[in-house]
Amino acid sequence: MKSPVRIILLLPVLLAVVAGCAPPDDTLVVYSSRNEELIKPVFERYTAETNVNISFITDSAGPLVERLRAEGENTPADILLTVDAGNLWHAASDGLLKAVDSAVLKRNIPAHLRDDQDRWFGLSLRARTIVYSSQRVSQDQLSSYADLAGEQWRGRLCLRTSRKVYNQSLVAMLIAQEGAARAEEIVRGWVANLATEVFSNDTSLMQAMVAGQCDVGIVNSYYFGRLLDKDPEIPLRLFWPDQDGKGVHVNVSGAGVTRHAPHPVAAVAFLEWMSTEVPQRIFAERNHEYPANPSVAPDAKVSAWGEFRASETSLVKAGELQADAVKLMDRAGYR
């Protein structure tokens, strides 16, 4: 009895000694809310090309930001990598990211896909667009996000929960483009048209559509791509709305250099590399996304969904207006 007790008491101490050390000094550290499967191949490629090692920690965006805040000057993190412009904007406006003056990044990433003070940069692009049942809806019945609020879609619309940041950014952009009053009208129209309770994720939304629960919905393009991988015959199509208006709502996954990055120069070099052709392609392709660098062509599968005109409203608005968007959706009864 005695010896196991002692071992149990001693082990934590040993573990602390063994595992309490930070990553080696020459290693670039990334805090990422994108998962290992997506980022690791890219990181490994960078290491192969440049001999710079990268270590990373994955977590949700919120905890990663709090982590940066708590660690302050002693943070080991050089780069914060996360999805959604809103998350990036808030990290920047809380002073956790620093401005990067890089001609390469400015050239490769369009202005509306990066921070107006260059504290973060979009690295991949996803469209939040309309999906419809090819059996029950024809393409010419569709036109815009606002149109989904019309009476003709009563009881035919599926939406994902307003708790998901992608919908918050979409509504924030609607506020930016249409004004708060009109945006609220649209959201109320959507809620009135819902065929069923909102879904917790895009995939189950599309599965419900296949099963006939509803006819149109709004999803991120890559979720559609994943379903297509599993079932190429799936009776769903993507539709690019607002082609005569502001364009399709796009969002980014992106990154910025942390304010107290131990290796700021290396961090910038890494971001610059990320904006170039090969990593852009790998990074986007793995998740059926679009490269943020407009000179890099999307993967063939993604191109097959058709070309579209994307909204060019700066994504900074998505961050600025996100809280307003959440409040608007709460008011409109969009759960």
């Binding site: 149990i8 602390a16 998962n35 920690i57 994955t58 709090e66 982590r67 296949v210």
Partner: protein, 551 residues
């Protein structure tokens, strides 16, 4: 014989000093738990009127009603399921009783969010069940709403009832048959005996189990998120992740914490009035159910088992199989070993601490130690990610302080300190989160180590650690094993704290589940989730076998 003068070798410390020492042990255990709670509570000094106005107007009313329904519903159903199944397997005999007595524990290894996803996937409109119903009875065939209040209550109850089952079963096994026999001699039927004697006698244990269930329900985010069921905890996450007000999130958490604290105090004071010694002999002969009731009992246990364990297991196996070739690789060995290592060490560490806390309460009684114990177990009711921040902030501050000191002392030669992300940190964090889980069973068993048992041992010449080894540990064994199993399983499933405090590159099965679910790959999360369940089975089976043996 001893000389007539006082010999310093035998100078006793006296009772007073002893209990003071134990009280300070209670205080020392409470400090690491208290710090994160203070970080959370500290938020109330910086108000965030904008966010609060919005929450009050559009959010809180709905989530309060939802939360009350959820907590009440889950408490009622887990209470009914847990108590009835505990009674059936502990006191009666029916076909398959031996198997069910341990098998009914297994659902505790199924993470709530997995269960939720399986149930929604199978039963929602697009799932196979409703599709079949539509094929049979036409497109307008009625089917109950799955993603609604009833659905989330049932799903949470199915994964949480084992807490009540486990702890209450222990009570039924040890409460003794004499009181029941007395009841029968007073003309009570067996059924009346159950409701009027056995059940009231087991009340403190049922309450203890329910308290864990309620705390876990309040803190849950994963399960309710699958159902889009807005609760107090989702409001906390909304404030943080959507309205970007960590302050409002912490303030809401403070409210939650205070409510739970009051509830814990009430539960404790109810329990304080009910002191039970395990008096009398336990039922020497089980009640043999005869005729159709015995088959009914089997059928009931089978249905619970099917719904709460077989169903999610089969679905996970199916998903796991689909993705096995793509996702399984040698790194799984690493994930599994990390998870097991963490879970085993934490189980030992947290249980040992709970034991110390229980001793400090036993040997240094009084309001102070009591409050310490109550506070120390509050971490279980706080949403995981919020608690993770609460833990992380003081740790990072400590680490930064140490770094600053080293920098001054050693200049540029100072090593980089990262105390916030070490395995030791993880252990402390798990302690904060799961102390309640270990403390509940240990404490209820501690009641059986009466003061006169101690004194009997000492008067027979056995004291100190020898007494612990020969008298206390054997008596406490059932409670310690229960505590270790619960902590083990909970640590295996835990995500937010693991994510925030793990060292670089130190991924576990739960981290893997998180990475898959965070990108919407629910089916691919099945493989690591399955590994969590399977790894959890071993200790559960071991524990059940041991407690069965001890009882």
């Amino acid at each position: 014989m001893l000389p007539k003068t006082a010999s310093p070798g035998f100078t006793g410390t006296g009772r007073r000093n002893g209990s003071d020492r134990w009280r300070s042990v209670a205080a020392v255990i409470t400090i690491p738990v208290l710090l994160p709670l203070l970080v959370i509570l500290g938020s109330v000094f910086v108000p965030d009127p904008d966010t609060w106005e919005h929450l009050l107007e559009h959010v809180l009313a709905e989530v309060l009603v939802n939360t009350l329904w959820l907590v009440a519903g889950v408490a009622v159903i887990t209470g009914l399921l847990g108590t009835s199944l505990a009674w059936l397997t502990a006191v009666t005999d029916f076909p398959g009783r031996r198997f069910f007595s341990w098998a009914l524990m297994l659902p505790i290894a199924v993470p709530g969010y997995v269960m939720a996803f399986v149930v929604v996937g199978l039963l929602d409109f697009a799932g196979p069940v409703q599709s079949a119903v539509r094929d049979l009875w036409g497109p307008d065939a009625w089917f109950p709403v799955v993603r609604g209040r009833a659905g989330v209550i049932i799903v949470m109850s199915l994964v949480l009832y084992p807490y009540v089952y486990l702890i209450t079963r222990n009570a039924f096994l040890t409460q003794g048959a004499r009181a029941l026999e007395a009841g029968q001699s007073l003309g009570l039927s067996r059924r009346q005996g159950f409701f009027r004697i056995a059940l009231p006698m087991a009340r403190p244990w049922i309450a203890g189990g329910l308290m864990l269930v309620v705390m876990e329900t309040l803190a849950d985010f994963g399960t309710v998120a699958v159902f889009n069921y807005n609760t107090f905890t989702t409001a906390i996450y909304e404030s943080w992740f959507s309205l970007f007000s960590i302050r409002a999130a912490l303030q809401l958490s403070s409210v939650l914490m205070l409510l739970v604290f009051v509830a814990v105090l009430i539960e404790r004071s109810l329990r304080a009035n009910a002191h039970y010694t395990g008096g009398g002999s336990p039922a020497t002969a089980r009640i043999r159910l005869a005729g159709w009731p015995r088959w009914l009992a089997s059928a009931y246990a089978t249905i619970v088992m099917l719904l709460a364990f077989v169903l999610p297991l089969v679905q996970m196996l199916a998903w796991g199989w689909q993705n096995f070739a793509r996702d399984f690789n040698t790194r799984y060995l690493e994930f599994v070993s990390h998870s097991l290592l963490l879970a085993i060490i934490s189980a030992g560490f947290v249980t040992a601490t709970a034991l110390l806390l229980a001793y400090s309460l036993r040997n240094g009684p009084g309001a102070f130690a009591g409050i310490c114990a109550r506070v120390a177990t509050l971490g279980y009711a706080i949403p995981g990610a919020v608690l993770a921040v609460g833990i992380f902030v003081p740790l990072a501050a400590l680490s930064n302080g140490v770094q600053a000191m080293l920098d001054i002392l050693l200049g540029s030669a100072a090593p980089t300190v990262l105390l916030q992300a070490t395995l030791l940190t993880m252990l402390v964090a798990y302690l904060v989160r799961f102390l309640a889980v270990a403390y509940t069973p240990v404490e209820s068993n501690m009641q059986r180590v009466t003061r006169s048992v101690d004194e009997a041992s000492r008067s027979l010449g056995i004291s100190g650690t020898r007494m612990l080894r020969r008298v206390h540990f054997p008596i406490l064994r059932g409670g310690l094993l229960t505590a270790m199993t619960l902590v083990f399983v909970d640590v295996m499933k835990e995500m937010p704290i693991t994510l925030m405090t793990r060292p670089f590159g130190w991924d576990t099965l739960a981290v893997r589940v998180f990475e898959m679910t965070s990108e919407g790959h629910w089916d691919r999360a099945a493989l690591p989730a399955l590994a969590i369940v399977l790894a959890g089975l071993v200790p559960i089976m071991m524990m059940i076998r041991r407690t069965e043996h001890a009882a």
